[in-house]
Symmetry: C2
Subunit: 393 residues, 2 copies
């Protein structure tokens, strides 16, 4: 990726000695930034910091640690973020406002003083153009595999690259949950254009996934544009020449978001929920998430049980307009309901077979409008309980 | 209970032969009714029926079956309810509008024709004043114990009795979830007064519990007043002479609601969450439920892990006004946080000891207002997964 060098090194924040837990990205001078963050009312110190500097629109460095979320750490947490910004700014010769930060890990434990600052020189030595695997490793917590994706697209005929890494597997819900994603492009786009492209792509990807409905204090998606691609200048996000780029960005974000769901804590099945015929797109997404977050739907999927009554229950509890007698439910392509009851010749055999697979498709048509949305989730298994009943001990 | 006779018999709706699955209550002529129902947009046929007849305010019979929810059963489901009403009305010599009904069990499976009607004569033969144990048994589904409670109070010096039974252990959330409760009193109160008393009591009991955040299609709470007590007439719900009665009703409902939580599917711990200092009582309840419904909080409790950072996360995601730096969290009476960080001398030892108990107390003070609420929930264990991944098979 022209204009980006990355590194993943060990800073001693994860309990396991020598584990990679610090990701640093160096961006070419003049790089532009966009970001979306958690909607939590108790955001982490790095989220507060990023929100404060984002209006400047420029970025030279991204510093991310795993092993400690630096959330609910009071003024000490703010000081850690400021110290990290100053250390990185001195090393890279840039203003502190160009140092983006994110942290993930346990909440409420102070970050040991200067642990990040002391590891920065080693990270800088390790910076190179192709250390994406190490970078993706360094931001993992309970993730079982590193997450990365790449796309090649064009702007007005000039080739442009998009690459990103992400982490997350629990505390995953819309509004960014405990997930971090960092995307990079060599496109030359001003911050306002970049932000509009990212916000739209995030709504259809990171904000359309859920593992457990829990939204974290730390969710952060950053998109950096290094401007190394020599395409014609673009001043508006809805410029037709950005169509391929926007589409590739949405595709990249969906790829990363779906990797997070596939790595959902304890997940054994990947579930796609398509909602159509709702009163509006917002209503469709809420209904999709009510299904995706229902513990009873998720445990039925874990049990490979074609218990579609729980889908009816979840639609009913979403609080969105619905008409029982127009509701159509399809699982694995098999229509199950019509006119408020099971179809006359309903045969559970193909549905039961579909439930045994690892990719589950649920489609719900409300029959009352044109709103549509797709959300992705996973099943709720004993593995989730084991991981989370025993996270700190 | 003067004016009430009950029976619990087998109608062949539960798969296990001979299992009690039909509850019938006969109410003295002139009994008044109040009810609160699920807010699901896909309510069951019996819920639709009860909503339709409730404005009449009178009741002579309550017929409840377990084993089949008669939900999402289309027009066939409506016909089952009408047939049951006609059969009961003929046997008891009352209008069909005085036959209240509720059903609980699997969704989307038609009730076998006339199974309920055919069992009614046997139920009537079994009616007696003290078959409460059989009645509470007949409405169980995954419940591991029958749920009943009783209170003696007074209206203007005249003794009045309140008794109730309930069921529910999964698909439990505010707005009545999959729970049924039937309360009876010999008080002589008109329907409008009764309804206001019940609505208020339900808000502070059945609507303040959650097992899994899933709201069912079938939730029903009915309160019948037989008018056998010879107290002075009361025409207004806010009459001071009703204070003891209202308090006893709230107490009875909380007792039944807490029994449901204690029997939560897979539950091993009973959790009381007190929220104070919120912007309003509604805001306090939403924050309490965000904590109570968080899979990560619930699994931490299951794991006896004093991971209070997840409480911060849940407060943050509730979407209600909160200020990280005014938030105070207390577990088992031990203050953990102050000014947006752990208290200086925080010692986890007593908190860890509290987490090993079976009664967990979490108190959150927002520090920004006077709104308060208490909600009750249970932990999320392997047992919940086992029960729900394998419910129908």
């Amino acid at each position: 990726m022209p204009g980006v060098r990355v590194a993943g090194v060990a800073a001693g924040l994860k309990p396991k000695p020598g584990a990679k837990d610090l990701f640093v990205a160096e961006l070419a001078e003049g790089s532009c930034m966009a970001g979306v963050f958690t909607r939590s009312r108790c955001p982490s110190a790095p989220v507060d910091w990023c929100r404060r500097i984002l209006p400047n629109g420029r970025g030279r460095v991204i510093v991310v640690n795993a092993g400690n979320a630096n959330a609910f750490t009071g003024t000490a947490g703010d000081r850690t973020v400021e110290a990290t910004a100053q250390a990185a700014a001195a090393l890279f010769g840039c203003p502190v406002e160009e140092v983006y930060q994110a942290s993930t890990g346990v909440i409420g434990v102070p970050v040991p003083p200067d642990r990040i600052g002391r590891a920065l020189p080693a990270a800088i030595s390790a910076l190179c153009a192709d250390a994406w695997r190490e970078a993706a490793d360094a931001i993992r917590t309970t993730d079982t595999f590193p997450k990365a994706a790449s796309r090649v697209t064009e702007i007005d005929g000039t080739p442009v690259t998009l690459s990103g890494i992400a982490k997350g597997s629990g505390m995953i819900a819309p509004d960014m949950a405990t997930m971090l994603a960092f995307a990079f492009t060599d496109a030359a786009l001003p911050p306002a254009v970049l932000q509009r492209c990212l916000t739209r792509a995030a709504d259809r990807s990171f904000n359309a996934i859920t593992v457990d409905s829990d939204t974290s204090t730390s969710d952060t998606v950053l998109l950096a544009a290094t401007g190394q691609a020599r395409h014609t200048p673009i001043g508006e996000a809805d410029d037709g020449r950005l169509r391929a780029f926007r589409s590739a960005l949405e595709d990249l974000c969906q790829d990363l978001a779906q990797q997070i769901v596939r790595d959902g804590e304890g997940a054994r099945k990947f579930v796609t929920i398509s909602v159509t015929g709702a009163r509006s797109a917002v209503s469709a997404r809420r209904i999709g998430l009510a299904i995706a977050n229902s513990p009873l739907v998720k445990t039925a999927i874990a049990g490979e049980d074609a218990n579609w009554g729980r889908i009816v229950m979840a639609v009913g509890k979403a609080g969105e307009p619905a008409d029982r007698d127009r509701l159509s439910i399809t699982v694995g392509g098999v229509r199950i309901t019509r006119s408020g009851q099971p179809v006359a010749d309903y045969d559970e055999t193909p549905v039961a077979a579909h439930m045994k697979g690892s990719e589950i498709d649920i489609a719900v048509d409300l029959g009352i409008g044109r709103g549509r949305a797709t959300v992705w989730t996973c099943d709720l298994t004993h593995g989730y309980i084991s991981i989370n009943a025993d996270y700190r001990s």
